[in-house]
């Protein structure tokens, strides 16, 4: 489904910058959900951006087979001056669903439960509202792999339950690759785990093992 082969990534700017990811290789089979863990700055968001195709690796290659979502999160993905509805229309159009645009808008409106705010500019939204819109929007398309970058972190309990149910409905059909610092939601939604540490990626078939390895390293530090 997703094959990441010998991927290197660094950001060069005024401040130099070493390798964020160094020789990463792993494979995500179809329908498997992966939780990505690691400390701040370990390269979790970078990895998601690479898999989502927002950015290109310096070396190595990433192969996507099937439809992969954009990294669903709080930053990016929306144009602040456009309303929730206009953003939804835009995303539906770029995904080639111009004909089904009304169904998609109805679906997003129902999932996000933003009420009148759906017709307000996105820059007026709270982070919780943004994440509802982002999640609702991504669920309106049948992706084979959803990339979630802390998108559920700011949701309230009702929203989390809803997001969880939406993914449970898709188990077997769609996979999820999720960056989160919330152990609970990772355990609930993911089977496998990927631990990013020191620019390397270590794959665990069980999310519980990944979490305990990550916890051990934090204690040792």
């Amino acid at each position: 489904m997703i094959e990441v082969r010998n991927v290197y990534k660094r950001y060069q700017g005024h401040h130099g910058g070493g390798w964020v990811l160094r020789d990463i290789t792993f494979e995500v089979p179809r329908g498997v959900s992966v939780g990505v863990v690691g400390r701040n700055g370990a390269g979790k968001s970078t990895l998601l951006r690479l898999i989502g195709g927002m950015d290109a690796p310096n070396r190595g290659e990433i192969m996507r087979r099937g439809r992969v979502s954009w990294p669903i999160g709080l930053t990016g993905g929306f144009q602040g001056s456009m309303t929730g509805r206009q953003n939804t229309k835009f995303v539906a159009r770029i995904h080639g669903d111009g004909q089904a645009i009304n169904d998609i808008i109805a679906q997003v409106e129902e999932f996000a439960e933003l009420g009148k705010a759906f017709d307000q500019p996105v820059r007026t939204y709270s982070s919780g509202m943004r994440s509802r819109l982002a999640f609702g929007l991504s669920l309106a398309f049948d992706f084979d792999l959803y990339l979630s970058d802390e998108a559920t972190a700011v949701g309230d309990m009702g929203f989390r339950a809803k997001a969880k149910k939406a993914f449970e409905d898709r188990v077997g059909r769609a996979g999820l690759m999720m960056v989160s610092h919330g152990e609970g939601i990772l355990k609930e939604l993911c089977q496998a785990g990927l631990w990013l540490t020191g620019g390397e990626a270590i794959w665990f078939d069980s999310i519980h093992d990944a979490l305990s390895a990550y916890r051990e390293s934090m204690k040792a530090a």
């Binding site: 439809r67 954009w70 990294p71 993905g77 929306f78 144009q79 159009r93 770029i94 080639g96 309106a140």
Partner: protein, 263 residues
């Protein structure tokens, strides 16, 4: 939604469609003065220049064309070029949030803004020509196909320049200001409001390096049958620039695609 795999062209087309709808709204609906200003700016220039000419004592500078039609045609032709450049300056930054979708590239908003601006300026031009004709000036083009070709060439010149400055201004803040400031000398050097043929030949030679002058004068030559422009005005010179600028602009967008998205 179930999906069949799309070709690159289908994806690009749907991105352009989505981007066009977004830009139309942003350009025409956000500010209620935007429509007014599109028409008012060229009209204001024409009115001011008529007044200036009255002060100068109605000298006949221009051979083979009336002053007001000459001015309307030149101004709108220049604005077509200028808007292509200035609207491209902010095109990448204004759509930054949308590069989260891998289907959208930084070059898309630049192209779409130029298409939209070209359409808007064409509508404004037709309205102004119709208005002037209604007021009794003879403005209708003598050679409509030639006028269309010259108009299109100027539009492509703006697109080519816009592709380049959109990369420059996104990576370097200073480029934005420099380009905006350079539009005023460009205005004068392109012979938009003051005819340039009373200048000595040695100066004209250098002025003729400017492709905008060729473009603006070509539009006028197509409009006014007996119009005498500078010697050496040539639309193919504009096309030389068009091909070069567009190729260079697209190359820059390819080279810096990732940095433009990250900015």
């Amino acid at each position: 939604m179930a999906h069949a795999e799309r070709t690159s062209w289908q994806i690009t087309w749907s991105v352009w469609h989505a981007m066009f709808m977004r830009e139309v709204l942003a350009r025409t609906m956000v500010n209620r003065f935007s429509w007014f200003w599109m028409l008012a700016e060229p009209v204001a220039y024409v009115v001011v220049m008529i007044w200036v000419r009255e002060l100068l004592g109605r000298a006949h500078f221009i051979i083979g064309a009336d002053f007001v039609p000459w001015l309307i045609v030149g101004l709108t032709a220049f604005f077509l070029f200028r808007e292509g450049i200035t609207r491209s300056l902010g095109a990448v930054k204004a759509n930054h949030g949308l590069f989260a979708y891998r289907q959208v590239h930084p070059v898309d908003p630049v192209i779409i803004r130029n298409v939209l601006e070209g359409l808007l300026k064409t509508v404004v031009f037709v309205l102004l020509v119709a208005g002037a004709e209604f007021l009794g000036y003879r403005v209708l083009p003598g050679d409509p196909l030639g006028a269309l070709a010259a108009w299109l060439s100027l539009w492509l010149l703006g697109l080519g320049g816009g592709l380049i400055v959109s990369v420059g201004s996104t990576l370097l803040d200073e480029v934005d200001l420099a380009v905006r400031l350079s539009m005023l000398p460009m205005f004068l050097l392109s012979g938009v409001i003051l005819p340039l043929h009373f200048l000595p030949h040695s100066v004209q030679q250098y002025l003729l390096l400017n492709p905008v002058l060729h473009g603006v004068e070509s539009v006028r030559l197509a409009f006014f049958g007996g119009y005498r422009s500078l010697a050496g005005v040539d639309l193919s010179y504009v096309w030389l620039w068009n091909v070069t600028l567009i190729a260079l602009g697209l190359a820059l967008h390819l080279r810096f695609a990732n940095r433009l998205k990250a900015q």
